[in-house]
Every structure is written in C-alpha cells, then in structure tokens.
C-alpha cells in the first residue's frame, strides 16, 4: 500500500520529485493521528513498565499486606498514595500488579485469534470455493454464540481462571480476524500486482506471506492486536462484576472496581475510582493507537 501511495504522491506533485519517506512526520500524517498514536504508545510503554515492575516485585508497598487497622484509608494516609482497599491493602501497588492479570493472558488471546484467524482468512480468501463456504459457516457459528455465556459455561465446567477466559476470548475473536483478512484478499486478488506476481511464477507461499500478509495486512493485524488487549481488560472487568473474573487475593483492575463498588455509596470512592480510571485511560489508549495506526498505515488521511 505504501508503495502505491508513494506513486500517487509522485504523480500528484507533478514533476517535482519528492520522496515521501523523507517528509517530516507532521506533513506525512495528520496531527490528530500523531497525537492518538503518541498517547497510545505512552500507554503501551506504561503497561510494559508496570508489567516489569510487577514481575520483579519493585512495588512501593506489599500488595498483599492486609492491615485491619487501616481499612479503606483515604489517599495519602500512612504512605499509601492512592489509599487502601477493603482489606487495608495498598491500592497503588495493587494497581501496578493488576496489569499482570491481563498481560500474558491478553497476549494469549490475541495470539489465538490472530493465528487461527489468519489461517482461516487466507484459506477462505485465497482458495475460495468449498473452503470459503465451510469457513464462512464456521465463523458464523462461532459468532452466533454470546461470548459471555460461553465463558460462564467454561467457568462452571472448570474453574474461574483468567487463562480459560482468555482462551475463549481468543477463539471467539477468530471470526473478526478471518473475515477481515478474507475480505482484504478478495479485494487484493483483483489488483494487478498480484496478477503480476502470479504471472511471474512466484510461489503461492511467497505471494501470501510477503505480498499479501506482510505488505498489505500488517496494519490490519496490528489494529486487531491492540483492540484485543483493550477488550481483554474490559471483558475481565465485566466478569469480575459477576464475580467470575480474576479471584482474590490476586489483584486485577476488574475485581478492584467490583469490591470497591460495594463501598462507593458510603463515601469511599477511591478503591473503585482508581482502577476504573486506569481501565478508562488504558482502553482509550489501545483504541486510539489502533485508530491512529489504521489511518497512518492505510493512508486514509495522509496529505
């Protein structure tokens, strides 16, 4: 796509030879897109930092230390920057540690939906015919199951474990990826460069992996991945509200909001507000990142 954009640019500038790749960023892309991506990358950076801090136990306080004399202490008391929760545990530390609940399980969900989705999408889009019919039926079937009900079934059968939940999420995410890829391939198949590649005798493997997936679908895949991470957090939060998310004493943003909400009406707003804001800004970051990258890489808003 980038290549064709460059050609377009070249023609538009009529005579004046300018290399698109050498343009300054703000000329290449729109300002909002740059802001979106910048904010998104900041969130990704913060998530990574939090993950590392949690993994190496570099937290301001012990997140599991119960203090029955300091239940729901307001922010700032006794060295607790964000206060304490319903068991007197430090909210700030639990907030940082909470990202552990999403990071690897979220990646697992993304990996499942992307890997299976790509295979099915390519089969349906490139092969067409019989394979396409079967895959369309399959994706429709998966799509027709309500995701939450499916997850509750799995939990009832096994136990509430974030990895089970994310596996189900990954599988239910397959149809979206598969359909997007198949649709894209159907469009590309009519383009001259694919026809040319086939005519030149390139192997099918090369055409699919390089010319279709790498050059033309990577933006789409990055977007699906970033959206998937945001969705993982949101899904865990809604399950936590039903009591089926990550279970105590392991902290997750979802179960922090849920347990804090019980005390909201009594005026103790911080135990649920802090994780709720974290969820808001993180999901916003992932979604804006996906949006911005979409505009940039697909060149929809480029000048």
């Amino acid at each position: 796509m980038r290549r064709s954009t460059r050609v377009k640019k070249y023609i538009q500038t009529s005579g004046e030879v300018s290399d698109f790749s050498k343009l300054p960023l703000h000329k290449k892309f729109s300002i909002p897109d740059l802001l979106y991506v910048g904010y998104g990358l900041l969130i990704v950076f913060l998530v990574l930092v939090s993950y590392v801090l949690g993994a190496f136990n570099l937290l301001p306080n012990d997140p599991q230390q119960i203090n029955m004399d300091m239940l729901m202490a307001p922010p700032g008391t006794g060295g607790h920057l964000l206060g304490t929760d319903f068991m007197g545990r430090d909210i700030q530390s639990r907030l940082i540690l909470g990202i552990q609940a999403y990071f690897l399980p979220g990646l697992l969900a993304i990996f499942i939906s992307l890997s299976i989705g790509i295979v099915l999408g390519v089969l349906a889009g490139y092969r067409g015919g019989y394979a396409e019919t079967v895959i369309t039926y399959f994706t429709n079937l998966v799509d027709s199951f309500p995701r939450l009900v499916l997850i509750l079934l799995v939990i009832a059968a096994f136990k509430p474990d974030i990895y089970y939940i994310m596996m189900v999420m990954g599988i239910t995410g397959v149809p979206a990826v598969a359909n997007a890829i198949a649709g894209k391939i159907r469009v590309l198949a009519q383009k001259n460069f694919i026809e040319a590649a086939i005519a030149l005798g390139l192997r099918t493997r090369v055409i699919i992996l390089k010319h279709i997936l790498w050059y033309n679908c990577r933006a789409l895949l990055i977007i699906q991945a970033t959206l998937g991470m945001g969705e993982a957090i949101l899904l865990e939060t809604s399950l936590s509200y039903l009591g089926f998310g990550v279970q105590e004493p392991t902290p997750s943003w979802g179960n922090m909001v849920q347990s804090g909400a019980n005390y909201f009406m009594q005026g103790n707003f911080w135990p649920s507000t802090a994780p709720a804001l974290a969820i808001l800004f993180t999901i916003l970051g992932f979604n804006l990142l996906g949006d911005g990258l979409n505009n940039m890489l697909e060149g929809k808003r480029s000048r």
Binding site: F86, I155, P160, G243, E248, S259, N262, M265
Partner: protein, 539 residues
C-alpha cells in the same frame, strides 16, 4: 449481608407450654386503624411461594403471612392455638389430638366461593409432606410421626413413633389446602400451587407483577380478625446497596435484613427504626477430617487460637454480633456459657503446631515428615459476597502468621455444594448454619450423618459425642437434657471440628409510621397481623 446459609431444618423447640384454650382472636385491640400499605425489600427473589417445597428464608417469611399452622408461637415464646382450638396429649405422650377451629376458610380462588378448612386438609398436608416424591427439607423433621388420622371433620389425631420432648411445638408446620395442589399425592416445584399459594393466613396472594413484586392483600375473613395493613408488597432487589438506597428514598418502607455495612447510615436517619433480632445461627470454618493433617485435634485448635475473631467482627461487621465458643447458637438454652471462646493467641497456636510435630521449613511454612501444611479453603462465588471475601482473606492472613499456607479456591455455587457435600474434595470451608431447633446438632456431628449430601461434611466421628447426642435426643426431662447438651458443648468446643466464629445480630429497618412491630427471630412476619399504620401516615 448474604451468608452462605445452609438451613438446618430439624425441629422447632421452645421452652414452656401453654396448654388449652386461649382467646388469641379476642386479645386483638380493635382500636387500631386499618388501612395503609407496606412494601418491604428482599435481597433476591424466591423460587417458590409455598411452605413445603421452598427452602429459602424469603419464602419462609412469605409463608408466615399466607399460611397458618395448627399451633403458633407467641411473642413470649409460648405455644398458642392457631388452626387448632385446643388439643389433648395422651399420657404416654404418643398420641396428640387436635380439635380444629370451625370458622376458618381458605383464601378464595378467583371467581370461586371460599372453601372451609377441615381436618381433611391437615391429613392431606401431612401425607403430601411425607410422600417420598415430594422434595422438601421438612421430611426429616417429621419422621417421628407415625401417622395422621382424621377422627371427624374437625378433629385430627397424630400418632408418634416415640415420645418426643416438646412435640407440641413441632405442629406449627403450615397447613395447605386439599384443593390446592393439582397432584393430590405429592408436590413438586412444577405444580401451579407453588406459584399461586392458597392459605388461611392474614394475607392472600393478589398477584406477582412483571417486575416480580409479590403483592399480598388483607384477608377480610381472617379468623383472628382482619389484619390492619391493607397490602404487603415484597420487592426483590439484586443489589444490597440499592436496597438501602430504596429505603432512604422511600421506595420501600422496610428491609427485613439490613446489610451490616448500611447500619450506620440508617441509624443516623431519624425517619427509620433499626430493630435488632436474633436468628439462631452462627458462622464457622469447617474442617475436612479426611485430610490426615486436619485429623489431628491440635492442628484444628491451633487454627482456633490463630484467628482474631473480635478484630474481624469489629472491622467487617461493625462489632454487630457475639463471639461464640461451641456448636450451639447463643440464645439457645443448650448453649454453655461456662465455656469461653478460644482467645487470640498466636504463641499458643504455634506451640500447638510444634507439639503436633510440625517444624518451620525453609520457606516459613510448617511441615512434618516433609509434608507441608498447605490447605485449600473452598468458597462459593456469590455476587454480593464481599463480607465473605473479607473474612476469608483475613483468615488466610492469620494462618500465614503461624506458618500455614491456605489457598483460597473460589467455586461456582453448585460446584461448591458438590465439592463439599458429595465429593468432599476440600480442606476448609467458611459457612453458616441457621437453626430452627438450636438444641439439635445431631445432623452436624453424629457419625451416622457422614456420607454424600449429609450435613456432617467434615466426617467428624467421636463415639463420646455420638453417645451424648443420642442420649440428648431420647431424654424427656428438660433439665437432664440441658446438662447433656452443656457437656456436648464443652466437648465439641475442645475437639474443634469447626472453628466457631460468631453469631451476627440481624437488623431490620422500617419507617417510623409502622406501629406495634414485633418480629419473630427467623419467621419474621409471625405477628404482622397486629402491625398497623396510623391514619395520618397512611396518605
């Protein structure tokens, strides 16, 4: 707070007798005004509305408004006539003859004449209750009755298998009409009757609205006289915070069981009255003695010393409760006040573990012969379980302090019940028992009660306890029985098959406009026909 309540329905036991005829109906003061409506909030909605198939406290409370028993329990805990006008007991204590009131009619079905209540209905109720196909928690409670016979239209006789202490109180079960259930032999939850009950009580079911509100209206022909308040509405709530908010915004007039968290909020509001009532119940940690680590009495005692009950009660329940020492609910006559609850003593707990042969390992966890003291605490998932969650997390923390690792495992409710009562695949549970006969703990600790779906889930077996339980059941002398139960209490407190925790004080909150409110400890609405609302407050 909603507890994991398992209702032990055994038998109602009450001190003292008032035999013969008393004019309950005439005692009613006729000066109280009629009129007004009362809507009360319940946390959750009942599956069935009849007194036989239901096992929930919500339907039990509704049954109290819709139905009557042969005898009732007065506010002073005396047995008073209800559907039976008077009774006679044979000298050997094996036959009880009840002479029924002749002026009682069933609530009319829509468009039909009200049918009279007769002895036929009593025999019918007994038979349907005992039919093996009827699923009811009441069956075990009445196995002591051999048969029920109708002597004439208004006389019914029960023959007992053996004489039973306080047998009369057990005839307070609710009577249902012969023309009620569509199947005359047994009652299932599919029967229309369980959703459209017909009773003799002060209130009759009008309808269940689309929002699942249960609307009851005054029974004009109630045999004790028309109840004062025109209409009772039970409103279901799925969230306890909203329940409290509904009260403060006047959407409801009463909460039958106030969430401990909200007590302070309601207390500060002058429009409401907060009334405590004691249910016969307690919370505990129960141990699975099939696990050899927990079979050692010293280990269980150590856990009892490691737990700071008072701190938890104060921090999580605003101190609204009583710490207990043994297997009987406090407030029960069987409770032994001489036995002190285990004090909080970490040193003693550690000493007991060392005595039992445990030594701290490299990771700080106690171990014996290379076996670590690691246990699983199984907890059911309930949406509104944060009080449970708090106790469980605090327990985990207390045991960590004495070098015991507890893994908390949350399970979906059905799966939890199966794990605990059928598969016995747990080490520790946190739960509560609710008693209606606080003196009968045989189903909890007798060794004959070990097995799938039986209440002795921890497989506690001790011949001495078995002997005392049987002795207590067979004794007809009240004082003797008291002595036996006190012994039993002391023994089980020392044996520590459970870590006994506390009884919570239940609070009901209601609007000041309600007058003459008396509350029965667990049936709640037993005296609701005497409640009234002054004309000025009726609106």
């Amino acid at each position: 707070m909603k507890q994991i309540s398992i209702i032990v329905v055994l038998a109602l036991s009450v001190l003292g007798f008032v035999a013969g005829e008393s004019q309950a109906a005439d005692l009613k003061k006729t000066t109280r005004p009629n009129g007004g409506t009362l809507s009360y909030g319940e946390y959750g909605r009942p599956a069935t509305l009849d007194p036989i198939t239901s096992n929930e406290m919500i339907s039990m409370r509704l049954s109290e408004l819709i139905f009557n028993g042969l005898v009732g329990i007065s506010e002073r805990q005396e047995i008073v006539p209800e559907l039976a006008q008077r009774w006679e007991a044979s000298k050997d204590g094996r036959t009880y003859t009840f002479f029924l009131r002749k002026d009682v009619t069933w609530h009319p079905k829509p468009g039909e004449e009200a049918k009279p209540f007769t002895a036929n209905d009593v025999v019918f109720t007994y038979n349907i209750m005992m039919n093996p196909k009827t699923i009811t928690p009441l069956k075990v409670r009445y196995e002591f009755i051999e048969k029920a016979e109708m002597l004439d239209e208004y006389t019914v006789q029960f023959t007992l298998k053996r004489p039973v202490l306080n047998a009369l109180a057990k005839f307070s079960f609710k009577i249902i009409p012969r023309h009620g259930p569509s199947n005359p032999l047994y009652l299932t939850r599919e029967d229309n009757f369980v959703q459209h009950p017909i009773g003799t009580g002060p209130y009759m079911l009008k309808n269940v609205t689309a929002d699942r509100e249960i609307v009851l209206v005054a029974n004009e022909k109630y045999f004790k006289g028309r109840p004062h308040i025109d209409q009772f509405t039970a409103k279901p709530f799925a969230d306890q915070n909203i329940l409290t908010q509904a009260l403060t915004f006047n959407a409801i007039d009463m909460i039958v069981l106030v969430n401990p968290r909200s007590i302070a909020e309601i207390q500060g509001d002058k429009r409401f009255i907060l009334q405590p009532y004691n249910a016969l119940s307690y919370s505990f940690f129960g141990y699975n003695l099939r696990n050899p680590l927990l079979a050692d009495k010293r280990v269980r005692q150590a856990f009892g010393y490691a737990v700071n009950r008072q701190e938890m009660l104060d921090a999580f329940f605003n101190g609204q409760g009583t710490i207990i020492s043994g297997p009987f609910a406090p407030g029960s006559w069987a409770y032994n006040l001489d036995v002190q609850p285990m004090p909080f003593n970490t040193q003693k707990a550690t000493d007991l573990l060392r005595e039992a042969g445990f030594k701290p390992g490299a990771d700080g966890i106690m171990q014996k012969d290379g076996k670590k003291l690691e246990l699983t605490l199984m907890v059911p998932i309930e949406k509104e379980s944060e009080a449970v969650k708090r106790v469980v997390l605090a327990f985990q923390n207390y045991l960590k302090n004495i070098g015991v690792s507890v893994k908390v495992e949350f399970k979906e409710w059905q799966a939890w019940k199966e794990n605990v009562f059928a598969d016995h695949s747990f080490d520790i549970i946190f739960a509560s028992w609710v008693f209606d006969d606080s003196a009968d703990i045989s189903s909890l600790f007798h060794s004959a009660e070990i097995g799938p779906w039986k209440n002795n889930f921890g497989s506690y077996s001790n011949p001495e306890v078995d002997a005392l339980i049987v002795e207590s059941k067979l004794t007809l002398d009240h004082e003797k029985r008291r002595t036996i139960n006190r012994k039993l209490h002391a023994l089980l407190a020392d044996e520590a098959p459970y870590t006994f925790l506390w009884t919570l004080t239940n609070y009901s909150a209601y609007h000041k406009k309600l007058q003459h409110v008396a509350i029965h400890p667990y049936k709640f609405f037993s005296y609701a026909d005497d409640w009234y609302i002054p004309v000025a407050a009726q609106k």
